[in-house]
Amino acid sequence: MAKALPRLLVVLLALLLAAALFAAVFDLPQPAVDLPAQVAANLAQTGVEHPVTAVLLNYRGYDTLLEIAVLLLALLGVLAIAGKPATRTAERVDPVLQMLARIAVPLMILVAGYLLWAGAHRPGGAFQAGAVLAAAAVLLNLAGLLPAWSTPGKLLRLGLSAGFLVFLAVAAGLLAGGELLRYPPQLAGGLILLIEAGLTGSIGLILAGLFLLTSERGRSR
């Protein structure tokens, strides 16, 4: 009973908050600032054709820079937390799963490449492509074809940080010429593709690493 009262209070507060938010959502006025119009008006100078990609990598590219830092930081955190490497088991894996992995992974890499390129014109881009790559790595690990990682070596550390470093380098380079992340309109498309390519690789490796560093599956017998 003593524990039930505070819990009841929390539930009551939650319901109250929900009701208030419901009322608020119904009561919203028309916004004072019309951002979609501004996004569309300047789209031609951004170097990409899809408005969401333009916001993500040009108008609010600084947010994306910080976001990659967050991903890399999460990986650092996972590395810092891991104690002794878990004993990696090498268990037997269903050969059907292995066959599936062998067929699916090359296709997934192809899809990732397509998503990266498509991001300029339609939904897609570095994050989506990186996520597909990471999924391929996880599938390989579950099928016993890719062993789990321990502390990353020099090459892997380079791959993990390369995307962020490329983005940072482009930002610093642009800084020397003008303002932070101000793309010259004629170079914008190319620079964004360069940044996205680097990001795809790194995001794939980082997301894969977040799984593989804590996985316990070694190479299958």
Binding site: R7, V10, V11, A14, L15, L17, A18, L21, F22, V25, F26, L28, Q30, L35, P36, V39, P51, V52, A54, V55, L56, Y59, R60, D63, T64, E67, V70, L71, L73, A74, L75, G77, V78, I81, A82, G83, K84, A86, F127, L207, L210, L213, T214
Partner: protein
């Protein structure tokens, strides 16, 4: 009652459930899942309200993409911590 508004209201419910869940649930994994629910709720509110007018507003979509990545990173860190806690509790010598 446009579709966007329905998404937003659903998002509100998810957010509140997630918040209550993190506070009330005892199992660590469930707390982490509740946090994900909370995040998804906030994202849904953002995206839903972006569609409540006539056209679609791309800015909240980009913000939610960023938010999803941040959420994944945070969840990964939380899970790594939870696993480490489990490992240390099972084998207190490990340090």
């Amino acid at each position: 009652m446009s579709a966007g508004l329905i998404y937003a209201l659903t998002g509100v419910l998810l957010f509140v459930m997630g918040a209550a869940g993190v506070v009330l649930l005892d199992h660590l994994l469930r707390k982490i899942l509740a946090f994900n629910l909370l995040g998804s709720g906030a994202f849904l509110v953002m995206v839903g309200l972006a569609q409540r007018g006539g056209g679609v507003d791309p800015v909240p979509h980009a913000m939610v993409l960023t938010g999803i990545v941040v959420s994944v990173a945070a969840t990964a860190l939380a899970l790594a911590l939870a696993r480490r806690l489990l490992a240390v509790d099972a084998d207190p010598e490990q340090d």
